[in-house]
């Protein structure tokens, strides 16, 4: 059989988890047996029909997949261009964000591995809620590390985790946000590695996490391909998603990665501006380094100390990004841009008004970039935006901002 060059069997990542120069396993020796065990358990599970059937069943009947692909006619009207905009409605998945696709997969795997305890980090609380939910569903004990500052900002999600039986542990070290919650969860895992599985919430961390989380999230892109063909009769011209750690973006991009004619755009958080110190635009202005077990783009100083990140959207507030995004940036497969807090805030309000959909502030970043991009798109263009989560959790933040402005 003749194989064309692009069918060549090039595995990404390679066996030791490297995406070119990125990825890998930069962890204390104590964790090496655990991540190797996880790697082999995951490889077995993904070929196992029983595992696949159980996962598919839960995703359909519990999570509510497939999530709709909705043509945002209201937004289209405001744009005034002859383009079609579709929203992949991950906000309609159980618990209100795409995070559940990954946590169901990982907790199912952990149970299969005989683990009795689940730990996770969370920033905005969405991943914590999704992990606590999956653990409750499958009857495993769950503890979630959350920066003390984030616990104050996201009280509702703290309560949701507690309601589903999880223990939320405040993290007081460092910046008291997501980065430090990850450090603390890794420390817990090093200590309790025998009976505990760490559910990482994004396409970050040591191998196999970036690959495994990508694969669990890829259901977003696979559904989108099928749905857009039905609705528009062809594949889209542009696919966009916000990027913090990058799991929702990877989930929707990955099944389109070989379609060279499709533009993939990852939208980072420029916070108060990439020229300030208050942003999370890791790929746009960061540089490669090692954090949380992998080589990837980071926000760091000259000496390799990790900088704090900032975004109005707590889920984007992270100074690292997935290693596979790093190689996509270098190869140009995905274009990465950044929009600031103000643009995200405006897009949040806009989509709420035009289509009655309150997006998460994270997802609002992708909508915001569409406003910038739309005028340059040819007529008849089809754009898909991954609407990664719903905005209920952000209503208080946005209400405060609106109040501040009316008072001025």
């Amino acid at each position: 059989m003749n194989k064309s060059p692009n069918q060549k069997n090039t595995k990404s990542p390679d066996k030791s988890g490297h995406f070119g120069p990125y990825g890998g396993r930069f962890v204390p020796e104590t964790l090496m047996p655990a991540i190797m065990e996880l790697d082999s358990a995951y490889r077995k599970a993904r070929r196992d029909t029983g595992f696949k059937r159980d996962l598919a069943h839960i995703l359909k009947h519990y999570v509510g997949r497939p999530t709709p692909l909705y043509e945002a006619k209201g937004l289209q009207k405001v744009l005034g261009q002859e383009i079609r905009v579709f929203l992949k409605r991950e906000d309609l998945a159980h618990t209100g964000a795409h995070k559940i696709n990954n946590t169901i997969g990982q907790v199912l795997l952990a149970k299969r591995m005989g683990k009795t305890r689940i730990i996770a980090e969370t920033g905005a609380g969405q991943h914590g809620v999704a992990t606590a939910t999956a653990a409750a569903l499958m009857g495993l004990k769950c503890e979630v590390y959350m920066g003390r500052k984030d616990m104050v900002r996201q009280v509702m999600n703290v309560f949701r985790m507690q309601l589903t039986g999880a223990k939320v542990i405040p993290v007081l070290s460092g910046t008291q946000t997501l980065k430090d919650a990850i450090n603390e969860t890794i420390r817990d895992w090093v200590t309790n590695v025998g009976d505990t599985h760490y559910v990482i919430g994004s396409v970050v961390g040591p191998h196999p996490y970036p690959m495994m989380v990508r694969n669990f999230q890829s259901i977003i892109g696979r559904e989108t391909r099928r749905q857009i063909r039905q609705l528009a009769g062809r594949l889209p011209d542009v696919v966009m998603a916000c990027v913090g750690g990058g799991s929702n973006a990877m989930g929707i991009f990955y099944p389109f990665i070989k379609d060279e004619e499709i533009r993939l755009i990852g939208v980072e958080a420029a916070g108060k501006g990439v020229e300030t110190d208050l942003h999370s635009a890791t790929l746009s202005v960061g540089s490669p380094g090692v954090l949380h077990g992998a080589m990837s783009y980071l926000l760091q100083d000259h000496w390799g100390q990790i900088k704090g990140a900032h975004s109005l959207a707590p889920g984007l507030d992270y100074p690292g990004v997935g290693p596979e995004h790093s190689i996509f940036k270098d190869s140009g497969k995905v274009g990465y841009v950044a929009v600031d807090d103000e643009q995200a805030f405006q897009a949040f309000k806009l989509l709420s008004e035009t289509d009655g959909i309150i997006p998460a502030l994270e997802s609002a970043h992708a909508v915001a970039y569409l406003m910038e991009l739309a005028p340059s798109l040819p007529p008849e263009s089809i754009v898909v935006i991954n609407l990664s989560g719903r905005g209920d959790k952000d209503v208080a933040t946005v209400a405060d901002l609106i109040r501040e402005r009316t008072e001025k």
Partner: protein, 275 residues
């Protein structure tokens, strides 16, 4: 023979284990670190581990985390550490090993880092987040400058893997006493002695044990079966207790160096007992 090898060959002849204190460079300030090295040397320490502070020390417990943060208030970096080692090297021949996370080395440039570290008089490195599989580039860079790269094994490392790691480690093999992070523990796991004995069967290189060891009583038990004993958090706690805080400013109290020295002296005595 480099300083580390020479030290272990002498230790193994005598009836004792090497005492290897860890301190964070620049906690509370770099001059104190310099004084501590000399004082610990006088009190019988056999090798000193110098922490290079990092913003995200994920293998460390609260004691060393806050110690790193104290050092980072003065933005202590690798250049400062090398400068301090260069000064102290004129006064002592004690083996000095840098313990630090990988990213600061990577950003400095691996080959320049190895060059500057060796030129300053450092003898080796321990990088807790750089396991065997990822360590190739650094080991190559370190080797050309005569620096040892010391690798770690843990209680859950398989015998096969211990053999592989022991073949590559230089100077000694660092045995992590517990599955966990750094920090003092009143009780060491019962399996520790068994674990250490098993490791000793797998390698002829010196084995040093660290994580959790804080008291002379623990040391005398361990000295029988190991070549070296690392004490970190217990010393850092003492440094913290003798640091004076004035507003945002931290400075060494009048007794800091003396108290740490006395403690190191006691620990050293314990390494000679039971043998």
């Amino acid at each position: 023979m480099n300083r580390i090898d020479r030290m272990f060959s002498q230790i193994r002849k005598g009836k004792e284990a090497a005492l290897m204190p860890f301190i964070t460079t620049g906690d509370p300030d770099i001059d104190t670190t310099e004084k501590l090295i000399l004082e610990m040397d006088r009190q019988g320490a056999n090798l000193i581990e110098l922490g290079l502070p990092f913003s995200d020390p994920l293998a460390d417990g609260p004691t060393i985390q806050t110690s790193s943060q104290r050092a980072l208030r003065h933005n202590i970096n690798a250049k400062d550490l090398f400068g301090m080692v260069r000064r102290v090297r004129k006064k002592t021949d004690i083996p000095l090993v840098l313990m630090g996370y990988y990213n600061p080395l990577l950003q400095y440039g691996l080959s320049t880092f190895a060059e500057d570290a060796a030129a300053s008089g450092l003898d080796g490195t321990i990088i807790p987040d750089l396991p065997l599989e990822e360590a190739g580039q650094w080991i190559a860079a370190a080797k050309t400058r005569g620096l040892d790269n010391i690798l770690l094994v843990a209680p859950n490392t398989s015998a096969d893997r211990v053999r592989k790691i022991a073949r590559v480690t230089q100077g000694f093999l660092y045995y992590v006493s517990v599955t966990g992070i750094t920090g003092t523990r009143t009780e060491l796991p019962a399996e520790l002695y068994q674990g250490l004995n098993a490791i000793k069967q797998l390698t002829k290189k010196p084995v040093a044990v660290g994580f959790g060891i804080s008291m002379p009583a623990q040391i005398s038990g361990l000295a029988v079966i190991t070549d070296g004993i690392i004490v970190g958090s217990a010393i850092i706690k003492l440094i913290e207790a003798h640091t004076i805080k004035e507003g945002d400013d931290l400075r060494a109290g009048p007794d800091l160096v003396k108290k740490v020295g006395e403690f190191v002296g006691e620990l050293k005595e314990a390494t000679k007992k039971g043998c």
